[in-house]
């Protein structure tokens, strides 16, 4: 009886897992088909579509933009988010809770709303250049991840360690650099990767803030799918997934995915 229930549970779990993974697997497989439209199962086997992606100027320039944007937005978010997380973790004011919610608020607001608000304010109102607008938008999207993840590793940190460093001769800045930073390093690496992924994959905010001739990769991919249905879409999806998986693996190795929940 117990064994049968165990079997049923295993089957159910396998089904859920299949349901989650199958679409991704199918897309990945279709990237290698020879036919000029996406179909499954595939006929023949070719790397041609990957070649097409790398040969496409619009794909390549938007990939470059996405990478540069993700790096800058993430660095900016770290520059502001790490001190913010430190201040939130170090002090115990009553208004802390409010501040924390404020910093995390952009995860509660739909991306499309943030995108529209920024479009209205930055692009229409302030006539900000496209890249600057995108950078600000992505910064806003990723900063909650930085504060969350760095905050989580600061929660494990005993601040009397920092005080001991000060008593031994460190000024405030030295104490942070020599006693705090080395012990939240894995948190910062994890925050970097998560923020990077979220900027790199973002669509709703980019939709509003990209301009003529300047587009991020997911945005370019979307408009491409509207008009064409060839396996280069699958090929680029494989590339996007590969980058994300690689980064998530990095997060797992440094801190554990578990830190992102709770």
């Amino acid at each position: 009886m117990a064994a049968r229930r165990h079997l049923a549970l295993t089957a159910f779990a396998a089904f859920v897992f299949l349901f989650l993974a199958a679409p991704l697997l199918i897309i990945a497989v279709t990237a290698f088909g020879e036919a000029s439209t996406i179909r499954f199962p595939i006929r023949g086997f070719t790397f041609e579509w990957f070649g097409a992606v790398f040969a496409s100027r619009s794909f390549m320039s938007s990939l470059r933009l996405s990478l540069v944007l993700a790096v800058y937005a993430t660095l900016l978010a770290l520059a502001i988010g790490v001190p913010a997380a430190y201040a939130l973790g170090r002090t115990t004011f009553r208004r802390n809770k409010l501040l924390r919610s404020f910093f995390l608020s952009s995860t509660f607001v739909p991306g499309i709303v943030i995108g529209y608000a920024l479009f209205k304010f930055l692009v229409i109102g302030l006539r900000m250049p496209v890249f600057a607008g995108l950078l600000l938008g992505h910064f806003l999207v990723v900063i909650p991840y930085v504060i969350r993840v760095v905050g989580a590793s600061l929660e494990q940190f005993d601040f009397s360690i920092e005080e001991v460093a000060r008593s031994l001769g460190c000024n405030r800045a030295q104490a942070f650099a020599k006693a705090v930073l080395p012990n939240i390093g894995s948190g910062i690496v994890a925050a970097f990767m998560l923020a990077f992924i979220n900027s790199f994959n973002n669509i709703p905010v980019s939709m509003f803030l990209t301009g003529p001739g300047i587009s991020t990769l997911p945005r370019t991919l979307m408009s491409y799918i509207e008009y064409s249905y060839d396996p280069s879409v699958s090929a680029i999806s494989v590339l996007l997934m590969a980058i994300t998986v690689l980064l998530m693996y990095g997060v797992e190795r440094t801190m554990g995915i578990g830190t992102l929940a709770g």
């Binding site: 360690i161 031994l168 000024n171």
Partner: protein, 345 residues
């Protein structure tokens, strides 16, 4: 003039709650002084003022005649040991101890010599390459101590350093701290809530309550002459009764009976106190008048002795009596207070 001196220190949190209200404390060179009190009495805040982590709203902190009130923590050169040990998790024992010396820009040879010396004194030489995670609580505490001592601090500040250790280790560590402190002659402030720990180790004890010092004296003096009822309770007095002075060394209790008290004090009325161990119980009325009759309410077995709760005309009393002299609950007994054991507060 004391070596370290807190003058009229006031600390408030959020501009409202008074944590320290005009605290004064003077510590002599080479002395080990404890701040003793229950949680919230201001002892840790006092230590943090001395360390430079809390800026007082008023008052001065002097060391060797110099005003350090506004000197930042990192320029004070004080050694600090916390209850949580607060070792640098990313550094080995050697590098933990060397941390303060590297900041002082000493040469590598000098650093190595001094760290090795200190690791030798604290019996840690074999563990120099270990990380804090790989060590026991007692070993970590010794590293914390070595790290604080190696910079040759002007003051050593210990914040409940033994509270995380088990009872047996605590005993050994406290002897160890005392030994190092005397050997190196370092003026030390020790914060604790453990009365026994503190009395065994300190040259003088400051008992704190509500942000002020109730009594500051040698352990023996506090033990035999507590300044007030609060201090008396803190050092183990459980029996208190009203007294009125009727003559030199003679006091009358609320029933009208007279007591002789060695510790005379020229006051009209006061409170007498005595420890459970010091009350003498007997089953029959003694010949002298001072005995207080009472009834046994509760008897508890303490191992070496019985503890009795008595109801008497002067209030409830707690008394300990040896095992061979057992009284049943409900029986009538007489409590005598030796004149040398009564303290007045």
């Amino acid at each position: 003039m004391p070596y370290a001196e807190l003058q009229d220190i006031r600390v408030t949190y959020d501009g409202k709650t008074q944590v320290l209200e005009g605290l004064n404390l003077g510590i002599e060179r080479g002395e080990l002084v404890s701040l003793l009190g229950s949680s919230g009495c201001g002892k840790t805040t006092t230590l943090r003022v001395v360390a430079g982590f809390v800026e007082p709203a008023g008052g001065r902190f002097l060391l060797d005649g110099k005003d350090l009130t506004r000197t930042p923590a990192h320029r004070r050169n004080f050694g600090l040991v916390f209850q949580s040990y607060a070792l640098f998790p990313h550094l080995t024992v050697f590098d933990n101890v060397a941390f303060g010396l590297k900041l002082r820009r000493l040469g590598p040879g000098e650093i190595k010599r001094r760290v090795d010396d200190m690791l030798g004194i604290t019996d840690l030489a074999a563990l120099a390459r270990r990380y804090p995670k790989q060590m026991s609580g007692g070993q970590r505490q010794r590293v914390a101590l070595a790290r604080a001592l190696v910079i040759e601090p002007e003051l050593l500040l210990l914040d409940e350093p033994l509270s995380n250790l088990d009872a047996k280790l605590r005993l050994g560590m406290r002897v160890e701290i005392k030994r190092l402190q005397k050997r190196l002659g370092i003026t030390t402030i020790f914060v604790t809530h453990d009365q026994e720990e503190c009395f065994s180790i300190s040259d003088r004890v400051a008992i704190m309550k509500g942000g002020a010092i109730e009594q500051f004296d040698a352990p023996e003096a506090i033990y035999s002459a507590p300044a007030d009822e609060f201090v008396a309770r803190f050092v183990g007095f459980t029996n208190f009764f009203e007294l009125t002075r009727v003559g030199a060394g003679r006091f009358r209790d609320s029933r009208g009976d007279e007591f002789e008290v060695d510790a005379d004090r020229e006051v009209g009325r006061c409170v007498g106190a005595i420890r459970p161990d010091d009350i003498r119980l007997s089953g029959s009325s003694p010949s002298d008048s001072g005995a207080v009759p009472g009834t046994v309410e509760v008897r508890t077995f303490l191992g070496k002795s019985y503890q009795y709760e008595l109801s008497t005309d002067i209030g409830r009393l707690v008394a300990n009596a040896p095992k061979d002299q057992a009284f049943e609950p409900g029986s009538r007994v007489f409590a005598r207070f030796p004149s040398s054991k009564i303290v007045l507060c």
